[in-house]
Amino acid sequence: MHGVLSDELEELRRAAVAAAASCAAGTNGPPTEPVRAAYAALGTAGLLTDPDPVARLAAVVVLEVFGGAAAGAMLAVDQPGPACGALDAIPDAGLVARLRAAAARGEVIGVAVVEEPGDLVAWVPGTSVPAALVQLAPGVLTVAEAPALEATPAPAGAAEASGGVEVRVAGPRYRLEVDTFPARSVARLWVAALAVGVGAAALDYAVAYGRERVVFGQPVLAHQANAHDVAAVWARLDAARVAVRSAVTPWAMTQAYLEAMPAVLDAADWGVQLLGGHGYVDDHPAQRWYREAHLLRLLVGGADMAVDDLSDRVADECAASTDELAGWELGA
């Protein structure tokens, strides 16, 4: 069922909540190392491209939970994470084995989804030179490994727990002409799953606060206008969660990303708004979720590039099936 978890997956989700809670610290999120251990113990890393749909959904569910608890740290912790679709596309077994081994050691495999000519430059989470940088430009997959990479600190401002480096490719690289849309879509699903967790955490916290905090004689959320706003934001996030959990094809993954990111931004925005001034300061985690939501939406090329990808697919369909297109035009 779309978005509805089986008993086994619900049990996994509860275990993930407990694991994430065990490393939570402060309103700005836990440091990287406890998150790495807690996440690894759940055994879902790298399952986002598993052929078994249950395994894939398990990975999504755990990413949601850890997104809410530690999105900043997860950018660096979950490896190969957004790159796992790219690894499936690379036919060079030796290269894939090296990348997987680096990821298993906790090293970062950076992902860039840009269409730039010349030397590739990318923002990569972490504090040191990543093991590799994968570029997923349309039609071209490029991999450059550590000796060919130069990194300089480039704080992203929004993910203190993971930091960030600006990586420049200054050496040889592996290059493959291939359709990178599937790999880009997996990366988007990875981001969307974390983001849905960020939005859900922000709303949960705000709702708990709004049930207690009294204004004009009653709790914040007893005021109908506030309650209805939160309900609308919650429903949109819930719809996004269904899209993320049920996405199997590249098209559905990219669409899930496009459903999720605006819904998450609204949820994070209301997460601050309902707390008022308290939401804007470090005393509460609302400001962290707000910052993380805005950072996550910028990864893997942003919304415009996702729409470009989908419009390319529609264009292909149009060219392939003009009869069907005529039917749409008639509104049949």
């Binding site: 923002w123 600006e166 204004v215 708004q273 008022g276 804007y280 300061v281 005393d283 910052r291 590039m305």
Partner: protein
């Protein structure tokens, strides 16, 4: 063009120079370091040296003062909203002194701002840990003791109060009376009993400090009560009313800061389109340009709403509804503008600079401070539905 417009144009030009040279770099530095611009910074001493304390940053007559503050304020926020708020002067504390104070109080508290010995600030304190939007719940006590008032309680989210000479503090003489118990006092920061607590760790607009303080048996002479006893005789809710009048006058100015931030995002995206999407990259360029049109429409509409609300203030007419419309409209428009700019720039916004990311954090303050979005909706609803129904 009228003399006023000539004057205004010159004032905007002056703010642009200050913004480019000082506000933008200082704002970005404060954001990076996570601490406000220190009060002894050479920027402030430069302003004093240039006579800004005496004649204002943008000299001109008092004609259409609020419109002027709106137009020049947009330009300042374009460069950096956080740094703009650090500009010396009575700031938000000045409005209640001008509106509620006796002539003697206005002279006593505002005249020092015309001297040129050092930069000076004043501040305004309403919010408390248990009273934000619902200001009727404030718990800061004011008790009369002979010729003195004794204040006890805590205030928070008070901008610039860490460096202010004095703070306008709203307190209650009777918590059970709600807003009818409100009184406004000027509390000098060197009074015994004024205990500074901390600067809040804000996620944005970090160039100015937003502070908490406690008043512990803080004794004030009777004439620190704004307007004196006579001001409240027969109209117990004038203390609360004075605070609301302050907000009505300042909301158009705060709202237009969002317009300035949106303009900043627009320019950032425009420069990106110009360099990254050359004319032959038709699809991306066309979509990006359409997005920029959306931003620009929001900017121009927001500016119109702020100026309308400001014109009413300058005409001495009620503007609570129009001020709330402007304050409700502008911050979400600015946030949408920044998001749109981020869509245009894509992940280049992460790796090339932090500018748009900083704007997302800065602009959210404007959806909260000076009355949250929900409060503006409430004000508007009470006007159009009726205060007897919307309580």
């Amino acid at each position: 063009m009228s003399a006023f417009e000539d004057d205004l144009r010159a004032a905007v030009g002056r703010m642009r120079d200050v913004g480019r040279t000082w506000l933008r770099p200082l704002g970005e530095e404060a954001d990076r370091l996570g601490r406000p611009i220190p009060p002894d910074h050479e920027f402030f001493t430069m302003l004093v040296r240039e006579g800004v304390m005496r004649r204002g940053l943008t000299p001109g007559g008092s004609e259409r003062r609020t419109v002027r503050n709106v137009v020049v304020g947009e330009e300042g926020a374009y460069w950096d909203r956080g740094a703009l708020v650090t500009l010396p002067g009575p700031g938000l504390g000045g409005a209640p002194v001008r509106k509620m104070g006796t002539p003697e109080q206005r002279e006593r508290f505002l005249a020092p701002f015309r001297s040129e010995d050092r930069p000076r600030w004043a501040a305004f304190a309403m919010t408390e840990p248990g009273a934000g939007s619902d200001v009727a719940r404030i718990a800061m006590r004011a008790d009369r003791d002979g010729d003195e008032w004794v204040l006890n309680g805590q205030k928070m989210y008070s901008s610039n109060s860490g460096r202010a000479d004095w703070v306008v503090v709203f307190a209650t003489v009777d918590p059970s009376a709600g807003r009818n118990g409100h009184r406004a006092f000027v509390v000098e920061r060197d009074r015994p009993g004024f205990v500074f607590l901390r600067n809040e760790a804000k996620m944005g607009v970090r160039a100015y400090e937003t502070s908490s303080f406690v008043l512990e048996d803080c004794r004030l002479p009777a004439d620190n009560l704004l307007g004196g006893d006579a001001y409240y005789e027969g109209r117990a809710n004038r203390g609360f009313g004075g605070a609301m009048e302050t907000f009505n006058a300042t909301r158009p100015i705060v709202a237009v800061h969002a317009v300035g931030i949106a303009r900043s995002a627009l320019d950032h995206a425009r420069a990106f389109v110009d360099t990254e999407f050359p004319a032959h990259a038709t699809r991306r360029r066309r979509r990006a340009l359409e997005r920029l049109v959306e931003i620009r429409r929001g900017i121009e509409q927001g500016r119109r709403l702020c100026i309308r609300a400001a014109e009413l203030v300058d005409a001495g007419r009620p503007n609570a509804l129009e001020a709330s419309v402007a304050k409700l409209y502008c911050p979400p428009v600015a946030l949408a503008a920044i998001r749109t700019a981020q869509d245009v720039v894509g992940d280049a916004g992460v790796r090339r600079d932090r500018f748009l990311e900083k704007l997302t954090r800065d602009v959210k303050m404007l959806d909260i401070g000076e009355g949250t979005q929900q409060i503006q909706r409430r004000v508007i609803a009470r006007h159009i539905v009726g205060a007897d129904v919307v309580r």
